[in-house]
Amino acid sequence: MLVATTALGQSKNDSTVIKKPSYLPTGIRVGTDLIGLIRSQTDDSFLGYEVNADVDFYRYFLAVEVGRWERSFLTDDEKYSNEGNYFRIGVDVNFLKKDPDNSMFFFGMRYGSSTYTENLTIINDPVWGPVGTTSTNADVHAGWGELTTGLRVRMLKFFWMGYTARYKFGLNINEPSGFESHDVPGYGKADNQATWGFNYQLLFRIPIRKQK
């Protein structure tokens, strides 16, 4: 009986036609990071948004993310502000090739780049009294790498949800001496040589070609 089943299976495999994968893109997904939008409403020190887009080339996805990030802290002693723009570009590889909904579980990598300006005004020092000095870090450029993983799940016909977890590393800041960055838009605290990030994304897929 076992031998018969095996023989039957072998016969079926032999008759399967292996389709050559198509690397032509079938659609563009465009969306935004929900965490950034909610945080902008709930955190007085943060204002930011991020636009995400990816396009498929079979199981490979070219991903581009563009964002803006502003931070401000005001106490009796200091006033700090930071504003800048960033982008990330990279590739995700989908490991759910045969999902009927075309859902996606991926690993990928990114290169991140940020340009920003920081201002720090020392209003008062607890020891040295009223100060009123302002330091500016203008047009600072920072770059870093990311390893990413996440999911994309189709919720409605064109509506997708997903998350991206990021391990950010290798931060390199090109800044003038005299003022060290506190926060890098798109990356986070500049003191962290490696850090984690997380996006929860709402995406709309615009089909450009019928999937085979």
Binding site: E118, V153, H182, F198
Partner: protein
């Protein structure tokens, strides 16, 4: 079900993203000074009335005993001066340095400052030894300050007899004065021992005690003075006191226990009130 899990995961993820900054003091703008006695190199306990910088209203180490202190550098100037007012002496210290970088840390911690090129540019301590001009974030000693021997402090101990047993007595002191211009350190209203500075320019010194009960009593010491040049390089010629004795007093009893002066002082005279 699948969508429900997505929503639950979303709220978990939101919580994990609202990170709070670590509040660490990452500045390196602190100078560690330790105080030593010149004659034995051991730690010296200084009694500070206060340490102040002309650029700050803050008073550091107000009425504090310390063998070492840490003082901040002013990040808004290229030089910081401190005046260290002790009970018996007042010194100053000036430091030059360069502020290398400033960084905002957090709302709780404020800004941090990184300094370098520290130089102890001026002081009037008896003697100093620069241990390091490097600045670190951790507690460290940058400067050792050596003090000349203090040769004129005689220590009196207030004692009482309970039966045949001698025990420490506590006195409530209002004021103390001498027959010359002398500085006293009275650590508290109530005390059992007291250091009294002998007059280097006279063979006797009289001290008047005003007690809180309204009574006043006095004691007069005589002594022999000799020149001492062992620390001539740093301290000049010092005066050594010996053959201490009491020539007059109106206490019940005053017994000389040790007739030479030590630094730090050892009990020279036991006074029975």
């Amino acid at each position: 079900m699948k969508k429900g899990l997505w929503i639950a995961f979303f709220f978990l993820a939101m919580g994990s993203c609202l990170d709070e900054p670590d509040c660490l003091d990452m500045s390196n703008g602190f100078i560690g000074i330790s105080f030593k006695k010149m004659f034995d190199g051991k730690a010296d306990t200084l009694v500070f009335i206060g340490v102040q910088s002309p650029e700050s209203d803050s008073i550091f180490f107000s009425y504090t005993r310390a063998t070492a202190i840490t003082l901040p550098l002013n990040p808004f100037a290229m030089q910081t001066r401190y005046d260290l007012e002790g009970v018996y002496d007042t010194y100053f210290l000036e430091m030059d340095y360069t502020l290398i970088t400033t960084q905002y840390v957090s709302e709780d911690c404020g800004a941090r400052y990184i300094f370098s090129n520290l130089e102890f540019s001026d002081h009037d301590f008896d003697s100093v030894k620069v241990i390091t001009d490097n600045l670190f974030t951790a507690s460290q000693t940058n400067l050792e300050v050596y003090r000349c021997p203090r040769t004129n402090l005689t220590k009196v101990a207030f004692r009482q007899l309970i039966g045949l047993t001698e025990k420490a007595d506590t006195v409530y002191l209002n004021n103390i004065s001498a027959d010359y211009s002398a500085q006293f350190f009275i650590p508290a209203d109530t005390l059992s021992t007291l250091n009294l500075p002998l007059n280097e320019n006279a063979p006797t010194t009289t001290f008047n005690f005003d007690f809180k009960d309204g009574s006043s009593q006095s004691i007069t010491f005589s002594y022999t003075r000799t020149s001492w040049n062992d620390f001539n390089t740093w301290c000049g010629t010092l005066t050594r006191f010996s053959d201490l004795s009491t020539v007059a007093h109106d206490f019940s009893s005053a017994i000389v226990r040790k007739d030479s002066i030590q630094d730090p002082p050892l009990t020279n005279v036991a006074i029975f009130k």
